[in-house]
């Protein structure tokens, strides 16, 4: 264990309208660890993930990244963060390749062979030059996962990443997650189906 956790979420409270959604949620995340947030629909899994990603201001509580408060190191934090939301953030009019090119190039220079390699790894190489509008839901999800892989961020925050994926896609994605954890990466997901069960460093957090 590290002396200081990489990501430390302490007693986060969040209200959405009249509902007290998160009631003192706390957890820590270190290199090589996967935390899966589980719970019934509407319990606040997405809200928790958005809070940790800094997309939702919390009512109280602290989110500490590498020893610093989130609001003190936002740019730093975002450069080590890859966030996959419910929606895939793909432009229907751009091809799958252009979509990834533009979104990844915002963060780091990326080359075409590198992009093609990721498409091949996710078994969607033939889709690369098709407009995103013509892809199936599962293929779009794979393209969005490709963005996460290409971002090369230390922390992945994934909101129900395996939505629309077939069983081969889920197996492939588990492989990618295992690789990321093996390289000391961290993953926080909201999921209805537990992934990488039994692996060391994989935990669940149940919301009530």
């Amino acid at each position: 264990m590290h002396a200081e956790p990489q990501l430390d979420v302490r007693a986060v409270h969040l209200w959405r309208g009249e509902r007290h959604l998160l009631r003192g949620t706390s957890f820590v995340l270190n290199g090589g660890e996967l935390l899966q947030v589980v719970g019934p629909n509407g319990v606040g899994k997405t809200s928790l993930l958005r809070c940790v990603a800094g997309l939702l201001p919390t009512e109280s509580g602290e989110i500490v990244w590498r020893g610093k408060q989130l609001h003190e190191c936002r740019d730093d934090y975002y450069q080590s963060l890859a966030y996959l939301a419910h929606i895939n953030a793909l432009k229907p009019d751009l091809t799958a390749l252009e979509n990834l090119q533009y979104s990844v190039a915002l963060r780091r220079p990326v080359t075409h062979p590198e992009l093609r390699e990721t498409f091949a790894r996710l078994r969607i190489a033939p889709c690369a030059d098709l407009p995103a509008r013509s892809l199936s839901a599962g293929q779009k999800r794979r393209v969005a996962i490709g963005r996460i892989l290409l971002t090369r961020a230390a922390l992945w925050i994934l909101d129900e990443p395996i939505t629309n994926l077939d069983s081969a896609g889920i197996a492939l994605f588990e492989e990618c997650m295992a690789d990321h954890l093996g390289q000391g990466g961290m993953i926080l997901t909201a999921a209805h189906q537990l992934l990488l069960q039994g692996r060391q460093g994989v935990r669940t957090l149940e919301l009530h």
Binding site: A53, L55, R74, L94, S103, L106, R107
Partner: protein, 228 residues
């Protein structure tokens, strides 16, 4: 990451938006057609007599330009916010103000610049002498820039409001009045062969003001819109 400099970032966003625009030309053309139609309505409704038209021409061209730019604003940020791209931009660790400024610049290239280029044609139809063209184009170039920036702030504020286009108009139009006044006044002065430096300078000053503060206001408004 700072490895990709700000210039590269701006070029990236502009290249992306131009490519997107090239794939749906029909939508890009709409405000321009709107501009052309509105200005043609006046001769039909008021009188085809050139003397009368000439008197109202500066105002007509300017009001039409304002409305056309307002029409185009609706699609400035909304698609990016709805498909989750904006969320990724907020989380990219790059300065959001620069990214949004690049978007507004592209927006101006696609909606403001064509208005500027079309204006002599429209002006001629309303009986403006050829000598006024340079002033007309200059005021529109400066003015539509201001309208795009100001509109960008309004669009960022209202993007999370469902059916926010009316709210956007109510918010932005009153603030655009100085631009309209100086712009139409300069053209009017030019038609009477008087000095136009005053209103032109004021238009330029307004544009500089919006360019310097607009990006930060847009970024702040966009964060509020996305973080909800």
């Amino acid at each position: 990451m700072q490895s990709s400099g700000l210039g590269a970032l701006v070029r990236l966003v502009i290249a992306r938006d131009l490519r997107l625009a090239a794939r749906h030309w029909d939508q890009v053309m709409q405000p321009l057609i709107f501009f052309a139609i509105i200005t043609t309505l006046f001769p039909l409704a008021i009188s085809p007599a050139l003397d009368e038209l000439r008197r109202i021409a500066p105002g007509v061209v300017w009001v039409a330009a304002m409305l056309a730019s307002l029409l185009a604003l609706e699609s400035l940020f909304r698609p990016d916010v709805e498909d989750g791209t904006m969320e990724q931009w907020v989380l990219s660790g790059q300065p959001l103000s620069i990214l949004l400024l690049a978007k507004v610049v592209t927006h101006w290239l696609l909606t403001g610049l064509p208005l500027v280029l079309m204006s002599p044609l429209v002006g001629t139809a309303l009986g403006m002498p050829q000598s006024v063209w340079p002033v007309l184009m200059a005021t529109l170039a400066l003015g539509t820039g201001s309208l795009s920036m100001l509109g960008g702030v309004g669009a960022a504020l209202t993007v999370s409001v469902r059916r926010g286009s009316v709210l956007l108009a109510l918010l932005v139009l009153p603030l655009e009045m100085p631009v309209l006044i100086f712009g139409a006044r300069a053209v009017d002065l030019a038609m009477h062969s008087e000095a136009v430096a005053g209103p032109l300078n004021l238009l330029a000053a307004v544009l500089l003001f919006f360019l310097s503060l607009g990006p930060f206001a847009m970024a702040a408004a966009m964060r509020v819109s996305v973080e909800s």
